[in-house]
């Protein structure tokens, strides 16, 4: 029954998002929406997915949207035209979809077609073939490793896209001025700064735990990457971007993003050179199960490094752009005075 309550709450939040005109409230509601769906995923036994959604939907995505609305303004203008046409399209499409659900298998039924295809093989044989208890990790990193590789490349490409869109070259003296502005801005909030400083090592440690414990419990490279980057993002928010850039050099982090994808791809090529198929880890070691363990460890590492670096790059690009905008505005104000 908990799922019905959670789903109803999700609908209420979605309606709230439609009606709100204040973008700040909308972004906060989006965070709540992410947290609610994460709770729903836990109720559906999808612990790995819930983990990711909690870190991404309620954490990083809310933050990115907040940074963007500080640059674009938080008020949405009321639209003048009446939305009847849109309402019509939406109602018709929704009606057709409801009609389509009528012969779907009922919720929770064990004999639905989805459970009779490859899933039994994963559940029955993965312990012997891969040798790790978390089936989600063995499917993600071994059975469907090629698929996951594609997805890591998509994340990498999106990161490059953001970098290309928002990268701005700046001179050294400008950099120093920006740093000075930054430091003065971040000197308030003393309590938050001290508490955060104590929390950050534990967040980083937790990320590493999630990274290496993904074989035995919920976790893995994707979740670990997002958690690791959230620690750095937290630091950047409270101590200023230039302080964070001194901790993690942007050039280094760009290198690491590429290195993660490369590490992933190299495991595939190593298995090719050893006479197996692409991403066939059995040939990596004399014992097939040991080979699987090695392969999964390496590619999860690649995924974690890429995801963490790309998330950090994305946040740095947005925050850097915002700094430059503020700097330009300040200069304008000075000139007009």
């Amino acid at each position: 029954m908990i799922n019905i309550v959670l789903l109803s709450l999700l609908v209420v939040v979605a309606i709230g998002i439609i009606r709100m005109k204040d973008l700040f409230a909308v972004v906060m509601l989006t965070g709540i929406y992410g947290l609610l769906s994460a709770s729903f995923f836990v109720a559906m036994d999808a612990v790995d997915v819930a983990f990711t959604e909690a870190a991404v939907g309620a954490g990083i995505s809310t933050l990115l949207m907040l940074v963007v609305i500080t640059m674009t303004g938080r008020k949405e203008k009321a639209t003048r035209h009446k939305p009847f046409a849109a309402l019509f399209v939406v109602v018709i499409t929704g009606g057709l979809l409801v009609y389509g659900t009528l012969d779907m298998p009922l919720f929770g039924s064990a004999d639905a077609p989805i459970h009779n295809h490859v899933a039994p093989r994963y559940l029955n044989d993965s312990m012997q073939e891969i040798g790790i208890p978390n089936v989600v990790t063995s499917v993600l990193a071994s059975y469907r490793a090629f698929d996951t590789f594609g997805e890591v490349v998509v994340i990498f490409t999106a990161g490059i896209g953001v970098l290309a869109m928002l990268f701005a070259h700046r001179r050294r003296e400008e950099d120093e001025k920006l740093a000075a502005i930054n430091d003065s801005m971040h000197e308030k909030h003393l309590v938050i700064r001290i508490v955060t400083k104590m929390l950050i090592p534990f967040i980083l440690l937790f990320a590493l735990y999630v990274q290496f414990h993904g074989d035995y419990g919920p976790g893995g490279g994707f979740q670990a990457g997002v958690i690791f980057s959230s620690a750095i993002v937290l630091y950047a928010m409270l101590f200023g971007l230039s302080a964070a850039r001194r901790v993690v050099n942007q050039g280094f982090i760009q290198l690491m993003a590429a290195f993660g994808v490369l590490c992933y791809g190299c495991v595939g090529i190593a298995s090719l050179l050893n006479g197996g198929n692409f991403f066939d880890y059995n040939v990596l070691s004399n014992d097939p199960v040991a080979g699987q363990h090695l392969g999964i460890l390496l590619i999860e590492w690649g995924v974690g490094v890429t995801v963490a670096s790309i998330m950090i790059i994305i946040f740095f690009s947005f925050a850097g752009r915002r700094e430059i905008q503020q700097y330009v505005e300040q200069n304008k104000n000075k000139e007009s005075v």
Partner: protein, 127 residues
Amino acid sequence: MLIGLFNNWVVIVLMMSGLYIVIAQGNLIKKLVGLTIFQTSVFIFYISMAKVSGGSAPILDQEISVYSNPLPHVLILTAIVVGIATTALGLSLVVRIKESYGTIEEEEIQQQDNLQNQKENKVEVKE
């Protein structure tokens, strides 16, 4: 049947709310939020399909015999992280649009574009 299909219907309501925001509302950030709602509704659809009643999370253990289906979990887990990366790309486009147009309202952008086009056309006629 009402309970059995309830999840699917909620998914449809959420998906249509997202679609409505994308079609009817002019603010570009609001549109991206609409896309996120749409996207999450698809995640909920997949994960609801994976559930087996009485099953447990797909982490193998001697004492458990019924598990939920792990395959949709894998697909959605990666889709969530890809989703945030592509949303970030969309947000960066919004930032650039704000910088060059001074607004992120669809109608105002359209007006500016129309004015620009009219000017260009006049110049061509003179030449």
